[in-house]
């Protein structure tokens, strides 16, 4: 404001009033605002059409994804037979894009054994555009609706039933990799199954549908949408269940519990023994015979 005042002041001493700068600023805003309303298209508040979304998605795709996935999403093979820089995206569907880009796994920061979850690069609108573009490449699973994975509309008894059935399905199909508590676990050759705690229900549903990275699919012909919803309900109930016994140590089972027992428990005992033995009870005084 002071800078504005000074510039104005060079032109005329009359414009040096205390409110002159503010008035100039307001005038400028008013002019640019009205110009914008006159010239801009009058559909700023309507949804972009599908064709527009696909076009926008293609632009984003060419800039951020085509290096590995090819200019038309056909995938880029490497010299090693059977290995790909990026797999073909034809037929992976909008659900796969929403999962991979929405959780920040894609665009990939660096090639490696496992793509990691990180803050997403694109905003919701851009993710939707990318998803629309990739969905246009070939038919694939669509982004699920909230009604697909929410149990809010069920009655209490139905919810209870959904959670217990979801638990059985989870323990049969998911615990092998994701741990009985959904805390995740190690996989061969440096890979890992990520934790399911704090993952949005939509992304769990999409991961089941599309099988990201090494994870197998649990398509609708494998686990019905209702069964997927039950698994998600069970995971939600796991997070709500209080840990009555105190510390969970990550819920990783014998690995973290054993580590804690050996290092803190036995280490503490050894330390206490050393401490006891390192202090003498001797005195410099000698015995006085009574």
């Amino acid at each position: 404001m002071r800078l504005l005042n000074r510039t104005a002041g060079r032109l005329s001493r009359h414009r040096r009033g205390p409110l002159a700068g503010l008035a100039v600023l307001l005038l400028g805003l008013l002019i640019s605002g009205s110009l914008y309303t006159v010239f801009s298209p009058a559909q700023a508040d309507t949804q972009p059409s599908e064709t527009e979304q696909v076009a926008k998605g293609k632009e984003l795709f060419l800039a951020s994804c085509s290096f590995c996935h090819g200019q038309n999403g056909e995938g880029v093979p490497t010299v090693r037979d059977g290995y790909q820089l990026g797999p073909s995206l034809v037929g992976v569907g909008a659900a796969a894009v929403d999962f991979q880009v929405g959780t920040g796994r894609m665009p990939m920061a660096q090639p490696g054994q496992q793509v990691q979850r990180k803050p997403p690069v694109f905003n919701d609108e851009e993710v939707a555009a990318l998803a629309a573009y990739v969905a246009s490449l070939g038919p694939g699973p669509a982004i699920p609706n909230e009604s697909d994975y929410s149990i809010d509309e069920l009655s209490d008894a139905e919810r209870e039933e959904a959670i217990s059935r979801g638990g059985q399905i989870f323990l049969t199909n998911c615990t092998a990799c994701h741990n009985f508590n959904g805390a995740g676990g190690a996989m061969p050759r440096g890979g890992y199954a990520p934790t399911l705690h704090g993952v949005e229900p939509r992304y769990i549903f999409e991961a089941l549908l599309t099988g990201p990275q090494q994870m197998p699919n649990f398509s609708n012909g494998n686990l019905s949408p209702d069964e997927k919803r039950d698994v998600i309900a069970y995971l939600g109930s796991l997070e709500e269940t209080p840990e009555y016994a105190g510390f969970t140590l990550g819920g990783l089972g014998p690995v973290s519990e054993g580590l804690f027992a050996w290092v803190v428990g036995i280490g503490g005992l050894v330390g206490a023994a050393v401490w006891i033995a390192s202090h003498t009870t001797r005195s410099k005084k000698s015995k006085v015979n009574a």
Binding site: R165, Q168, I169, T172, N173, A176, C177, M187, P188, G191, G211, Q213, Q214, M215, P216, N217, F218, S219, N220, G221, N222, L223, S224, E227, P242, E243, Y244, A245, G246, F247, I276, T281, R282, S283, K284, K285, S286, K287, V288, N289
Partner: protein
């Protein structure tokens, strides 16, 4: 204190009241002169509790105090056990429940105070004079050994076993045959007819039996399985209904059949499958089915990677390549997972062509004969 090694007339150690503390009685009275003079023991230093009766009294009170506090905490444990319900107030302090905290603290402190009390007693009040204990030869003196052997021989002689081989042999026989009842009893500890080895080679699978989703029990449409799908499945006979007409199983039998019949179904590109000779018709359009039971020690396995088609056993890291007849590519398993030949029925559901053609699960002695 004397440094003269050949003499033990003067004692190097005296008790607090000046009386000599005796050497360990096992020390030989006469010792050879040693090349390096025995420096003897340093002068004994006393503890405050040895020299100061007040300190002694104080230590006594401290120890008794610890033991009394231990009693109090043990009683408090019982009080806490009955006054707090597990599950009530589960978030009283730092995410820990009132019951958890009080039970843990009272029992822990009670045990800790008993321990510190005993250590305090040992360090402050127990007698602490030094004792010299010389090393002894490990064996008994020769005369003792001779006497023992003499006694043994005398006993054998008097029993006359050496002269009466009939008695000796029948006695040994009687003890040996006593093992038979034990063997028979142990043998029948096995559940049901587990010793019927032929049954180990068979499972509940039979031609035409549907493959159903585990836990849910619904049949699987082959056309609905997508590339990369993994289905943890079970035999339809484990979910008996009036419609399918399978008999209800109970108890150990149900558990055994459930464990033996468990399978995993995956779908991959048919071109990626390299079937064994004779197994070309065991799959349905890239859908392939294996026993879920690891061939090492029988853990159920379903850690499947769709990209590599590897399935890993979490118990001992045996890894199987499902695209290549479940060949073992890593780990202690010695055989591939048994493959279940599958087909589709006229409604399009997956069914078994037959039972497994080899025993599933871990190896056993008679396996090769089945």
């Amino acid at each position: 204190m004397s440094n003269d090694n050949s003499s033990t007339t003067e004692h190097p150690v005296n008790a607090p009241d000046g009386t000599p503390v005796p050497y360990d009685t096992h020390v030989p009275t006469h010792r050879e002169a040693e090349p390096i003079a025995d420096p003897g023991l340093p002068a004994h230093t006393w503890r405050p509790t040895d020299v100061d009766p007040k300190a002694e009294k104080r230590a006594e009170r401290q120890i008794a105090g610890m033991f009394i506090a231990a009693m109090v905490f043990a009683v408090l444990f019982v009080v806490a056990y009955f006054s707090f319900e597990v599950g009530d107030n589960w978030d009283t302090f730092a995410g820990l429940g009132a019951s958890t905290i009080t039970l843990g603290l009272t029992l822990g402190l009670s045990l800790l105070l008993i321990g510190t009390g005993i250590i305090h007693l040992a360090r402050k009040l127990m007698a602490d004079h030094e004792i010299i204990e010389m090393r002894h030869p490990a064996s008994s003196p020769q005369e003792d050994r001779d006497a023992t052997i003499q006694a043994l021989n005398d006993g054998l002689d008097e029993a006359g076993i050496g002269r009466r081989p009939l008695v000796r042999n029948t006695m040994l026989g009687a003890v040996a045959v006593l093992g038979l009842p034990a063997v028979v009893l142990l043998r029948d500890l096995a559940p049901g007819d587990a010793l019927d080895v032929d049954r180990l080679g068979k499972t509940i699978w039979e031609p035409g039996m549907r493959l159903v989703r585990d836990v849910v029990g619904t049949p699987i449409l082959a056309s609905e399985i997508e590339m990369g799908d993994l289905i943890n499945a079970a035999p339809e006979a484990m979910f008996p209904t009036e419609e399918n007409g399978y008999p209800e199983l109970h108890g150990a039998e149900e558990q055994a059949e459930k464990a033996k019949g468990a399978i995993i179904i995956v779908r991959m590109d048919p071109d990626e499958i390299t079937p064994l000779e004779g197994r070309e018709k065991w799959t349905v359009d890239g859908i392939i089915c294996y026993s879920k039971i690891c061939t090492h020690v029988g853990c159920p396995i379903s850690l499947y990677e769709r990209t590599t088609h590897h399935v890993l056993c979490p118990c001992h890291q045996s890894t199987f390549d499902l695209a290549d007849h479940a060949r073992v590519i890593f780990g202690p398993a010695a055989r591939p997972l048994p493959q279940l030949p599958i087909a589709v029925d006229d409604e399009g559901y997956l069914v078994a062509q037959s039972d497994f053609n080899e025993p599933i699960g871990a190896s056993f002695w008679e396996r090769e004969k089945l």
